[in-house]
């Protein structure tokens, strides 16, 4: 990376009275950084000698922008030259990451359509959160089974009741790094027993905002 060339290029643009800025939307397995000139995306072909791409990589390094995992950072800023002729970025960002804790939770699941009769030939899992539900059947032996929609609905209602119970219980639970769980995802396998031991995945979201921060990009 040729930092001298990057600095000279940005310096020249600023001296010409142009506004040079950046915005980024990083996390969830990708890191996207765009450099702007007068509000327009600086659209250079990708290459090791491309100033905008190199400057983007530099921002990822210096700001520690995330790529993989459930950590996200969205932000924007403008480049300036300070009194010591350093290239600095004035920026704001919103960063958050998601963490999960697991617990086992027994819950009674009624079976009005008697689908437990299929357990000799299939594994039947109840998987869901508040916004989605999936009745997952994996046939182990014999022929396939078809479960009508009302069967799925009957289990979905019970899983939603479980999640509402977990939500109501949450204020009484110990906090995790000062946070209480914001989302609940459950997974349970039907057995002959009416009580299903669910794996409950509790989602915690940690957020950090910053305004008018400043960082030296190139000395």
């Amino acid at each position: 990376m040729n930092k001298t060339k990057i600095k000279q290029t940005i310096q020249q643009l600023i001296w010409e009275g142009k506004t040079v800025g950046a915005d980024w939307d990083c996390g969830g397995d990708e890191a996207i950084v765009q450099i702007h000139i007068n509000g327009e995306v600086w659209d250079e072909p990708y290459g090791e000698t491309s100033v905008s791409w190199q400057l983007g990589d530099l921002l990822i390094d210096i700001l520690g922008l995330p790529s993989a995992g459930e950590c996200y950072n969205k932000g924007e800023g403008l480049f300036h030259l300070n009194d010591q002729d350093q290239l600095v970025l004035h920026f704001s960002y919103n960063q958050y990451y998601v963490d999960y804790l697991e617990e086992k939770f027994p819950w009674t699941i009624k079976d009005p359509h008697r689908i437990r009769q299929h357990l000799s030939k299939a594994n039947i899992d109840l998987i869901g959160g508040k916004d989605h539900f999936h009745l997952h059947t994996m046939i182990q032996q014999g022929d396939p089974i078809e479960l009508p929609e009302e069967v799925t609905d009957a289990f979905k209602k019970q899983v939603i009741v479980l999640i509402e119970h977990l939500e109501e219980r949450e204020p009484s639970q110990e906090k995790y790094h000062g946070q209480q769980a914001k989302g609940f995802y459950v997974q349970g396998t039907l057995t002959a027993d009416e009580v299903v031991v669910f794996s409950v995945s509790k989602e915690y979201c940690f957020e950090e905002n910053a305004e008018n921060e400043q960082v030296i990009i190139i000395d």
Partner: protein, 192 residues
């Protein structure tokens, strides 16, 4: 479509013959079927079907199907049904120190027998390979701790020495290099 241990098969008869080989009762197999037509067919034919054979299992085109259908056989059955030819048998006397429940050491002398087998690949559905009739070789040994029999693959270049000890030596490594017969006989102190 039909399933055996989670693996899909396309025809009912193969599925039922695999269950027959696994000695499942008709009542149990009936509990696997939900469609009325399938249940009726199972009830009608199950007891009259021939159990699936090793040769048929070996020739299934899908590796998961082969795995599931061979699961019901004892390894000795598979070896016998594939017309394995015994090339060499050697018994060696071994001395080892073993520890009893009070952790007292005692010398144990025992005999260990190794057998080298060959299977013509034709029976596995492979006719010719680079103009030759290929074969698969394996060595049989018994675990002294569990008394279980094991059949371990050995490559043709090792098996062609027609020596069961050379074959079992090859299955062991020192610094990633297979042992030879001399090393096995002189250096092996313990094994499992």
């Amino acid at each position: 479509m039909f399933f055996v241990d989670g693996v899909r098969f396309n025809d009912l008869q193969t599925t039922l013959r695999i269950y027959r080989q696994q000695a499942k009762s008709k009542e149990e197999v009936l509990s696997y079927f939900s469609e009325a037509d399938n249940k009726q067919e199972v009830a009608r034919v199950y007891d009259s079907l021939m159990p699936f054979t090793v040769q048929e299992a070996i020739l299934l085109p899908n590796s998961e199907q082969r795995m599931v259908s061979l699961r019901g056989f004892e390894i000795e059955d598979i070896v016998a049904k594939l017309d394995a030819e015994k090339i060499d048998t050697q018994t060696i006397t071994k001395k080892q120190i073993r520890w009893d429940k009070q952790l007292k050491p005692q010398e144990v002398v025992f005999e260990d027998t190794y057998e080298l087998f060959k299977i013509g690949a034709k029976i596995l559905g492979v006719d010719r390979w680079w103009g030759q009739e290929p074969a698969i070789y394996f060595v049989k040994c018994q675990c002294p701790s569990t008394d279980r029999n094991y059949f371990i693959y050995v490559p043709a270049k090792v098996a062609k020495e027609n020596d069961a000890i050379t074959a079992i030596a090859w299955t062991m490594r020192f610094n990633g290099v297979p042992l030879n017969k001399e090393q096995y006989l002189n250096l092996m102190y313990t094994e499992s």
